[in-house]
Structures are given as C-alpha cells and as structure tokens.
Symmetry: C2
Subunit: 210 residues, 2 copies
C-alpha cells in the first residue's frame, strides 16, 4: 500500500496525473481533508493563548480537538481509498469459469465495492465533523487569519463533497438491500455539507467586512 | 524561499498546521490547484486515444493543454504566495524613526501588499482557466472517471475561491487608486468562478445518472 504521507508534493501530483487507476479522486479528497484540517489547526494555534482573541479560545479549543486527529487520518484514508479501489479491480479479475467461481467472484466484487463506498463515507463524515466547527472559528478566532479559515472551509468542503461522489459511484453498482443504508446516509450528509459550507463562507465574508 | 514541491505531504501538512506565518491559505490554495489539475490530466489521459471515448478526444486535448501547465505553476505559486506574505511582514518591520524612514516604509508596505494581492490573483485566474473546461470533460470524457472530474472541479474551485479571499484581504488595505482595478477583477472572477463551479457539479451529477 502506498504511504502518501511520505511522497513529496511533486511525486504525489505526478501520481495523480498518471493514468494508473490509483491514486484518483477518493485519495485526492482525503489528502485535501488533511490539508484543510492543518489550516484549521494553525488558526486554532493563533487564537488560543492570545489575549486579543480570548473570546475565541473555547471555539478554537473544540476545533483543534477535532482537526488534530484528522491530520493523520486524512493521509491514512488516502491510502485506504486507493487500496479499496485496487481491491475492486482485483475482484473483477477473479476467474469465472465454473458456477462456483462465478458465485465466489460475484460476492468478492460486492464486498470490495461495499468497502470502496465505506472508505470515502468515512472521509466525508470526518470532513463534516470539522466543517461544522469552522463557522464559529471564523466568527471568534484570530481575525488576522480569517482567510485561512476560509481556505480550510473550501478544502474540507471539497473533501466531503468529493468523497461523496466516490460513495455514490460505488453504491450505484450495489443492490438496494446492500447499499440502501449508505444511500440514505449519503443524501443526508450531502445536504448537511452544503449547508455547513455555505455557513462557513458567510461567516468568513462577514468577518472580512467587520 | 521554500520549495513546496520537494516537501513530503506529511511535512507540508505539518508546516501548514504550525503557527509560523507561512505557509497559509494562499499557499494551500495554489497547492490545491496543482492537485486538481493533476486529476484533470489523468482523466484527459484516460480519454484521449481510447476508442470508446472518441467523442471526448477534442475536449480532453484542450483540457490537457491547460491543466498540464498548471501542474508546475501551482507549486510555483505556492512558493510565490508564501514569499509575498513574508515580504509584507518584512516591510512592516522597516524602521520608522524619521520622516524619510516613515515614507520609505509606507511605500514598501504598499508595494509588498499590492504584490501579495497580485500573486493569488494569478492563482485564481489560472484556476478559472481550467475550471471553465471541466464541464465539457465531465460530459464527454471517460465515463468511468467522471467522479475524478468532480473532485478536480471541487479542488480547482476551492483554489480559485480561496485565492480570491487572499486577493481581497490584501486589497482591503490598499487605497482605491492602487487596488481599484484588482477589486473589479476580483468581483468579476468570483462570479464567474461560482457559475463555472456549479456547471461542473451539474455536469458530473448528470453524467453519473446516465
């Protein structure tokens, strides 16, 4: 399994650009989550402990707790996503000469596809957990870093929405019985993510005018 | 000047998370541009030359021409953005004991701030140039990679909007005479970017249902 955290930005970019099946959008979404979380941690650090922004210490503290754990989780999910996609490809390559082989292959494809939907769902849920906390950080955090909250919000929102594309494409090849629950989660999360993204942008714009 | 392309993803993420003034949101936006462009290049590669997606060869060719040059430019702008911010900080530290020193310092701050607005404007313009081409790629490119166009669109849109936050915050401390032109550009580009982002999402969603 590739450890994306150890790649240079140049190597990672070139791996994305190559026509190898992985890394693709699912990995890119998880990496964006890590980078957005890092910007959020920076703003929390520039807020907490600075007397001028004392009103924001509570929000910064809560936000840092969530964002810090996503720094590493994002890179982990980037690898997991690539692995889960490779597993789907391997399942499709299983032999299909006998009834037994065909049935084994069908089940392997189903399980691998379900997992390839669950991994980006974890990316999306983790992104949303942070996204929800960013409007408060934009309102009360260090005012000199409000544009950094804005970029964090854009990256974390891209991570959430991008991961949900990958959940959806995998669910589309599962039966309702297998993928139905995930589809419900997907639809709720997509709506919540859209609302939270708008709220962050609104809070950042308001703070920039104040 | 930091060469972000040579940093590992872990090092870059930790540099973003630290409370050092740079790298911040401007750099993160430019890096996201590079990563989004890389995904677009992948989809172009998976389209052009593949008989099944012949209808998309023209769109893929045009898109690859633009996206390829952004692979490196994004990382260059990431460094330029950090440098331009450091230059503003240095200008503020100039001595201000005499009239001459104060006047020299005022001019240095103004020039550095103008440059710190121009660099993210270049990031935003470059991002928009690619964003405009993604709806066609989503419609006619390799259908198996449509979610990758979706994630590319989200990252490139985040790069554009995020860079524009940084243009705006710097313009806000310039006189209308100095920053007026950039402000007009900013407002037009923000609107165009919002429209193009929506069009990409719409095209990706339609293609996923087809």
């Amino acid at each position: 399994m590739s450890e994306y955290g150890n790649m240079t930005l140049d190597q990672y970019r070139d791996a994305l650009a190559s026509d190898a099946p992985t890394p693709g959008g699912g990995t890119a979404a998880a990496v964006a989550l890590s980078q957005g979380a890092a910007l959020a941690v920076m703003v929390c650090n520039l807020t907490e402990g600075n007397e001028k922004w004392k009103m924001g210490w509570g929000d910064a503290h809560s936000c840092r707790n969530v964002a810090t754990k996503l720094l590493e989780l994002g890179h982990q999910l980037a690898s997991d996503d690539a692995q889960s996609f490779d597993d789907v490809m391997s399942a499709y390559k299983l032999p299909k000469n006998t009834e037994d082989e065909m049935s084994h292959r069908r089940l392997a494809i189903q399980n691998a596809t379900l997992n390839a939907a669950k991994v980006p769902m974890m990316t999306a849920e983790s992104a949303y957990e942070l996204l929800e906390l960013l409007p408060s950080l934009a309102r009360t955090g260090n005012g000199n870093a409000v544009t950094d909250v804005g970029v964090a919000g854009l990256l974390v929102s891209a991570a959430c929405k991008g991961a949900l594309f990958n959940v959806e494409i995998n669910i589309n090849s599962l039966s309702d019985e297998i993928g139905g629950n995930l589809r419900n989660q997907l639809e709720k999360l997509r709506e919540s993510c859209r609302d939270a993204s708008r709220e962050v942008m609104h809070a950042v714009n308001e703070r920039m005018q104040s």
